[in-house]
């Protein structure tokens, strides 16, 4: 009797992003609202960060609420049945439970139950990590459609007196549906990590220290200069590599959508890449703030909604942050 041959997945050649959804915090927080505890001013904050307002969620608006809203928009715009979603990836660092995952609950709430669902902890690179995995899952044949969400309620993990990062941060969620395509829609991803700078963006303490009464509630901190140098000059190398592996030139781009960390990082990174003026640089940070894993899909959604970029153009998206973790890919705008 001959040995039976195993079935394997039928591969799909190409993938693309079908649609993007977005949800922002329900509160508009001005610089004047937060300047007092950091002994600062509207002018100082604008000059150093570019932020005019940041969107934060009120106590009654949860991370899950924003993720569901963003996901439902993406699903509706993609025109797919949520039952056809073959995986749900939720990139977040602010889901307030060690377990179970935020993704499993999200999958159920959007009608994708029993899709496999898991969270990704890659901070501000999380959305690009999610797109990389969704691309692989779709093209490998493991999933027809993948829901990728980058979502954060960072305001639960800030210290109003912190001058390093807290005043930058906002809340929101962005969602993308990735599925099969007749033409290339997502380039190879350039991604990685550098744990030698593990504490360059981190928490003030562990949950164990907090439990034992040795520390106050853990909040985010960063070493600003170290992060700035890495985010601009190292990420410029990553961005150039992403263009190279995508097989395109800077002038072929419609948009640069970086993690919305700080306007100074965005502008300097764009300068290092020597982008022509035709390339739209996303600056959603000005009115949304830095929303970590949510910032790239929120910024891309804003560009599409405003008509600044059109469907079908190329966008270089690059996420970078705590880990240090980074990921970049070129995508066709949905």
């Amino acid at each position: 009797m001959s040995k039976p041959v195993l079935n394997q997945y039928d591969v799909v050649k190409y993938s693309r992003i079908y649609a993007i959804g977005a949800a922002r915090g329900d509160l508009t927080v001005t610089n004047d609202d937060i300047a007092g505890p950091i002994d600062s001013s509207d002018e100082w904050i604008r000059q150093r960060t570019g932020i005019v307002t940041r969107r934060r969620a009120s106590k009654n608006l949860s991370l899950m609420d924003m993720a569901v809203a963003a996901s439902n928009e993406a699903i509706a715009k993609a025109g797919i049945d949520p039952k056809d979603i073959g995986a749900v990836i939720f990139s977040t660092i602010t889901h307030p439970f060690q377990t179970p995952s935020a993704a499993a609950l999200l999958a159920d709430k959007v009608g994708a139950n029993p899709a496999p669902a898991y969270d990704v902890s890659a901070a501000c690179a999380g959305y690009c990590y999610g797109i990389a995995q969704a691309d692989a899952l779709v093209r490998s044949g493991m999933a027809k459609y993948v829901l990728v969400v980058g979502g954060e309620k960072l305001s639960d993990f800030i210290d109003p007196t912190d001058r390093s990062i807290s005043f930058l941060l906002g809340d929101g969620a962005g969602a993308a549906i990735v599925g099969p395509s007749d033409e290339p829609g997502i380039s190879p991803t350039v991604w990685g990590s550098d744990g030698s700078h593990w504490d360059a963006v981190s928490m003030t303490s562990s949950l164990l220290d907090f439990r034992d009464g040795d520390a106050s509630w853990p909040t985010l901190r960063q070493e600003g200069q170290t992060v700035f140098r890495w985010a601009v000059w190292e990420m410029a190398k990553t961005a150039r590599k992403a263009l190279e592996v995508a097989g395109i030139q800077p002038e072929d781009l419609s948009a640069l959508v970086t993690h919305q960390a700080n306007i100074r990082i965005i502008d300097e990174l764009a300068k290092q890449l020597k982008l022509p003026e035709s390339v739209v640089v996303a600056r959603d940070i000005v009115y949304t703030g830095n929303t970590s894993a949510a910032s790239i899909p929120l910024a891309m959604h804003a560009l599409l909604e405003s008509g600044e970029v059109r469907s079908g153009g190329y966008a270089l998206e690059i996420g970078f942050g705590a880990g240090l973790a980074f990921g970049a890919q070129v995508v066709v705008l949905p």
Partner: protein, 82 residues
């Protein structure tokens, strides 16, 4: 080729001018980057990276906080040329 102290000061003044618009003649050895020239931490890091490129030296992150005056930076760069 090693840069002299006056070469480094002149080159650094050009870098500071390009980043901040401060006149090159205002960039003098005794001037403090923050207190006298009003250069913030992000601009300082841009100046540091551009100085690394121009003079072929490495200025580690942990060293940047010790560069209080223009003279501190010039001396560091001159001695780091190996």
């Amino acid at each position: 080729m090693a840069f002299s102290q006056s070469d480094v000061l002149a080159g650094l003044a050009e870098i500071v001018n390009e980043e901040t618009g401060i006149a090159t003649e205002s960039v003098q050895l005794e001037k403090s980057f923050t207190d006298d020239l009003d250069i913030d931490s992000i601009s300082m890091m841009t100046i540091v990276v551009n100085a690394e490129d121009k003079f072929g030296v490495k200025i580690p992150d942990e060293e940047v906080k010790n560069l209080i005056t223009v003279g501190d930076a010039v001396n560091f760069i001159v001695s780091a040329q190996g």
